[in-house]
C-alpha cells in the first residue's frame, strides 16, 4: 500500500500545469486491467482526472521516457519519480540523454510495488481486479465469488523486497519524506548461482534464456538502453539479429545487452518486470554490478550526475581476468 494517493499527485500536477511551471505530465494510466499500468503523457487537468492512476502496480520507471518526450514536448515535463527511478534519471543526465532543464522532477515515496505474478501464485489466474485496502490487496477473480485478500507485503516484487534505496538522488520537489540508502540482500541470488557447479549454472541459464522470445521488451523498457538505434538492429554491425534462432543467439543478445549496460545499469529491475517469459534478467545485470563492486570498488550508477562509469575508467593495478578466476568458485 502506497502512502501517497492518486489525488495528491493529481493535485500537485494540476497546480504545476495550472501555474505554467510544466506543460505536460509524465505519469501512469490504467491498461486493460488494474495491474497492467503503463506510462502515459498528460497535457490537461481533465486528462489527468480521467486517466491518471497511482498505486501498487505503478512500477514502471518513467525516467527513460524523458529522452523521447523532452524532444517532442515544448516546455518542461513534470515527471513522478520513485527513489529507484531517480538513479536512472541521473544516469541519463550523465549520458546527456536529455536536458535537465526540460524536466521537473517530483520525487514520490515508494512502499514497494506489487508483482502480479506473485498475486497470481496466491490467488490463481483470471484476476479481474486488484484494489488496495490498508496493507492488503483485495483481489477478485473470474473463478471465485468472494474476493481474496492478500498482504501487500507478500506480493512485493523481488526488486522491492531487495530495495536498494528509499532516497531520491534527484528531484525538484518532494512529496512526503525522503528515505535512506538501504543495505539489501540483492546479491544473494547471484552468489547462490556463483556457488553452483558450472554444469548447474549452465543448465540454469540454458533453461532460462531458452524461454526468450526476443520480444525486446527488456530492451525497450531499460533506461540504460536508450540507443538511437540498437546495435542488434543495425545491419552493418555484423551482429544484427531480430529473432534468436538458437541457444547461442539468446545468450549473445543477453550477454551483450548486459555488457552494454554494465556500469550504467542502476539495477532498477525493469527488465525482469516486463519480461513476458519471466526470465530473471536482472541476475545478469547484478552479476556485473557485483563484479564491479568486488573488482573496482563499490559503484552505484546514477548515484550522482557525471560520475565516471567503471568501464570508462581504470587504475594501474586493476585485477587481471586470470586473477578473477583465482578468487574462487568452480570452473567448468
Amino acid at each position: 500500500m502506497q502512502k501517497i494517493t492518486r489525488d495528491q499527485l493529481i493535485e500537485k500536477a494540476a497546480s504545476l500545469l495550472g501555474n505554467g511551471t510544466v506543460s505536460c505530465v509524465l505519469g501512469w494510466e490504467k491498461g486493460e486491467f488494474d495491474y497492467d499500468v503503463t506510462p502515459a503523457l498528460f497535457e490537461t487537468e481533465s486528462e489527468l482526472r480521467e486517466k491518471f492512476v497511482f498505486g501498487d502496480f505503478c512500477g514502471a520507471n518513467l525516467s527513460k521516457y524523458l529522452v523521447s518526450k523532452t524532444r517532442k514536448c515544448e516546455g518542461r515535463i513534470l515527471v513522478f519519480l520513485k527513489p529507484c527511478d531517480t538513479y536512472s534519471f541521473n544516469q541519463l543526465l550523465t549520458e546527456h540523454r536529455f536536458d535537465r532543464e526540460k524536466a521537473y522532477v517530483v520525487g514520490i515515496p515508494c512502499e514497494g510495488m506489487a508483482d502480479i505474478e506473485r498475486v497470481k501464485e496466491l490467488c490463481g489466474d483470471g484476476i479481474s481486479s486488484v484494489t488496495a485496502d490498508g496493507d492488503e490487496l483485495v483481489v477478485t477473480t473470474l473463478y471465485d465469488d468472494e474476493p481474496v485478500r492478500v498482504k501487500a507485503e507478500s506480493v512485493l516484487a523481488e526488486r522491492c523486497v531487495n530495495c536498494k534505496s528509499k532516497k531520491h538522488v534527484a528531484y525538484d520537489e518532494l512529496i512526503g519524506e525522503d528515505g535512506e540508502v538501504l543495505s539489501s540482500a540483492r546479491f544473494d541470488e547471484v552468489a547462490r548461482l556463483e556457488a553452483m557447479t558450472p554444469d548447474e549454472r549452465f543448465a540454469f541459464w540454458q533453461n532460462e534464456l531458452s524461454k526468450c522470445i526476443r520480444c525486446n521488451a527488456c530492451r525497450n523498457v531499460c533506461p540504460a538502453c536508450t540507443c538511437e538505434r540498437c546495435v542488434f538492429d543495425n545491419p552493418s554491425s555484423g551482429v544484427e539479429n531480430k529473432a534468436a534462432a538458437n541457444s547461442f543467439e539468446e545468450k549473445m543478445f543477453h550477454i551483450i545487452r548486459a555488457f552494454h549496460v554494465a556500469g550504467r545499469c542502476t539495477d532498477c529491475g525493469e527488465c525482469s518486470r516486463v519480461c513476458p517469459q519471466n526470465i530473471p534478467l536482472h541476475l545478469l545485470n547484478r552479476k556485473f554490478i557485483k563484479d564491479i563492486d568486488d573488482f573496482y570498488g563499490e559503484y552505484q550508477a546514477g548515484a550522482e550526475v557525471g560520475s565516471r562509469a567503471p568501464l570508462v575508467n581504470y587504475t594501474f593495478d586493476d585485477l587481471e581476468p586470470g586473477e578473477v578466476f583465482e578468487r574462487g568458485g568452480q570452473d567448468a
Partner: protein, 144 residues
C-alpha cells in the same frame, strides 16, 4: 576406421604494437606452437569488442585469446587498461553462464617476448584441447 585427432580452433587477437610483434619474433626465432592458433591483427587490444569474442565462439572457435602490451606499455598509453576491465567482466560473465574458464584468456605479451608468445600459445592450446569441443557457446547452424 581411424579416429581423427581433435584439433581445437583458436582465435588470437593481437595488438599491432606489442603482441603481434611478439608473435613475429616467435617466428623469427622459429619457436613453434600449434597451427591451430590463428591470429587477427588489431591496432590495440582495446579494439577487441566482446562481440568479436562471442562471434568467434558462435562460429565454432574452441578458445579465444586476446594479447596486448603489458600494462603501462600500451602504444596508446591506456588502451590495455580498458581491455583488462572489459575482459575481466566479460570472462567472469561467461563463467557465470557456465562456460569453461580455460576457453578465454587475456595475456600481456611484449614485442620482445617471442618466447612468451609461443609458450602462452602452447599452454592455451593444450588447455583448450583438454576441454574438447566448444559445445556450450556455439551456433549449431554454423557447424558443417
Amino acid at each position: 576406421m581411424q579416429v581423427k585427432e581433435y584439433k581445437p580452433l583458436i582465435v588470437a587477437f593481437c595488438c599491432n604494437w606489442c603482441s603481434y610483434a611478439g608473435a613475429d619474433l616467435a617466428g623469427n626465432n622459429r619457436l613453434s606452437y600449434p597451427a591451430d592458433v590463428k591470429i587477427i591483427r588489431v591496432p590495440c587490444s582495446c579494439r577487441v569488442n566482446p562481440m568479436f569474442v562471442l562471434r568467434a565462439f558462435q562460429r565454432g572457435a574452441d578458445g579465444v585469446i586476446i594479447c596486448g602490451c603489458h600494462p603501462g606499455d600500451c602504444h596508446y598509453t591506456s588502451g590495455n587498461y580498458y581491455t583488462r576491465r572489459r575482459m575481466a567482466l566479460l570472462f567472469s560473465m561467461l563463467d557465470y553462464l557456465g562456460i569453461e574458464r580455460d576457453r578465454t584468456r587475456l595475456e600481456w605479451v611484449s614485442a620482445a617476448e617471442g618466447a612468451k608468445f609461443a609458450a602462452t600459445m602452447n599452454d592455451f592450446v593444450e588447455k583448450v584441447t583438454a576441454l574438447g569441443e566448444n559445445k556450450r557457446l556455439e551456433d549449431l547452424r554454423c557447424k558443417k
